[in-house]
Amino acid sequence: MKQVGLGIVMLWFSLLVLIPLSAIIVTTTDGGWANFWRTVTTPQTAHAIRLTVTAALVVTLINVVAGTVIAWVLVRDRFPGKALLELIIDIPFALPTIVAGLVLLSLYGNDSPLGLHLSNSSTSVYLAFLFVTLPFVVRMVQPVLEELDLDVEEAAASLGASRFMTFRRIIAPSLTPAIAAGAALSFARAIGEYGSLVLLSGNLPFTSEVASVRILSAIENDNPAGAASIATLLLLVSLTVIVVLDVIQRKVASRG
């Protein structure tokens, strides 16, 4: 019974996920190292990759700060309408990415009621990444903050520690693993983002074109080896970040 179940599960998982993903690696290696290098160093592609990685890093840093603050407010503060904020946080998770792009366009596009015209610029890439990655850090930090023992903080405060010192010495260390995990998820998500950019960024070469758009154009130009090369690079970048952050997390956890 167990063997049959395991067999079916592994068969389906392989057919759906493992074999297709390894096909990307195999197609890249079939093309050879020279082809891989030529593809990812083409000026247009190299620019797209640089923009994607830079924007993903910057947005992840913003999320680390903003996400922690928002989680803090949701757990420790109390005010009317807080339940609504809880719901708003989850919207980027649930909203289809193409709708996310349309949504952002309505406030930051050419008909912006704020007079902002961010569409078709590199700023729009940052904006879209910020939107789709919003929940990751918040939702990782929130439960940890809820479990945090208030007695320790009170002890620190009664011994004369300032709020900032209490935060730095007591709260921040216990939040670090959760923040790191949220950051990893948010970075990986941003690196591969596509849908929310389609309408918002205009995908202009050397301006607002990201790596996944380059993959798509390679597919459309019937260049699977090229597409697989960029895809492999993306897979490697997200894998590296996830491993690095996992190591940090383990270190912090073992120290504490």
Binding site: L102, L150, R189, Y194, A231
Partner: protein
């Protein structure tokens, strides 16, 4: 309880208000205001744009296709997800940790990469299995099965992530009691295990449905976007917007956004109810 609540919210000074203001303004500018604008844009001409959507047969077909793909993908992922969760929590086998790590992969892979991966394997001309399947009369890429595969791929871990922690939490005492009283393992599953993870499954299903309905990038790569055939609702939003039919794009976006907001509202209501019941 009441006392700890007081201390928890006790130290409110200027910093508290500053942080609160930051959180509210940030979420307002990034999410709430833009989403509200899409809703108002949809109803700029009253119900006209929604009526236009439902009277265009191609758009209705796109909506139907999205619902069909999402429904099939959700059924597959629910059966698969519950099965995998049981294997991961209740049994031991070599490579279990690796499998558990790999199961999260679909969440961090770019949708475009997902689409490419499926095309490389199931593409009709040059894919690994595509030509063979095609000789049996099964077309995957540029057809409905491809859309279903792409959708199932991107939403694969959602049921598992809900069910695994709950299965761990409930333990095995009741199951063992049932088995020792002579229930078959099938009976134990239906009578004991499934009812106790019921809510986790429900959350997983709702999340999977919402995610599946909204998939765009992966579906775009595998579907070929053929009008009236393999065009889904999210692809229709793009096409309408780029063809200067913004009002219908907003209307379809409104329908999709409505489903996702209802989904997260249902989950948050159920969760808070469950919390109250358990406390």
């Amino acid at each position: 309880m009441a006392e700890s609540h007081l201390t928890r919210h006790g130290r409110s000074g200027p910093v508290t208000y500053l942080l609160r203001a930051f959180a509210i303004v940030y979420l307002l500018l990034l999410v709430a205001w833009p989403v509200a604008l899409v809703v108002t844009h949809t109803f700029d001409d009253g119900l006209e744009s929604l009526r236009a959507v439902f009277s265009d047969p191609d758009t209705v077909h796109a909506l139907r296709l999205s619902v069909l793909a999402a429904a099939v993908a959700t059924v597959i992922n629910t059966v698969f997800g519950v099965g995998v969760s049981l294997l991961l929590v209740r049994t031991e086998f070599p490579g279990k940790r690796l499998l558990s790590a790999l199961l999260d992969l679909p969440l961090s892979v770019s949708p475009i990469v997902v689409g490419l991966a499926l095309v490389l394997v199931y593409g009709g001309r040059t894919g690994w299995f595509g030509p063979t399947l095609e000789s049996w009369g099964i077309q995957v890429i540029f057809s409905t099965p491809g859309i279903i595969l792409a959708t199932a791929f991107v939403s694969l871990p959602l049921v598992i992530r809900e069910v695994v922690p709950t299965l761990r939490e409930i333990g095995i005492e009741q199951e063992q009691a049932a088995l020792s009283l002579g229930a078959s393992s099938w009976q134990t599953f239906w009578r004991i295990t499934l009812p106790s993870v019921k809510w986790a499954v429900v959350y997983g299903v709702v999340l999977t449905l919402a995610r599946s309905l909204g998939e765009f990038g992966a579906v775009k790569v595998v579907s070929g976007n053929v009008l009236g055939e393999t065009r889904t609702a999210t692809l229709a939003v793009e096409e309408k917007y780029l063809n200067f039919n913004a009002s219908e794009a907003y209307a379809i976006a409104f329908l999709l956004a409505g489903v996702s907001v209802v989904a997260i509202a249902i989950i948050s209501i159920l969760r808070s109810r469950e919390k109250k019941a358990s406390s």
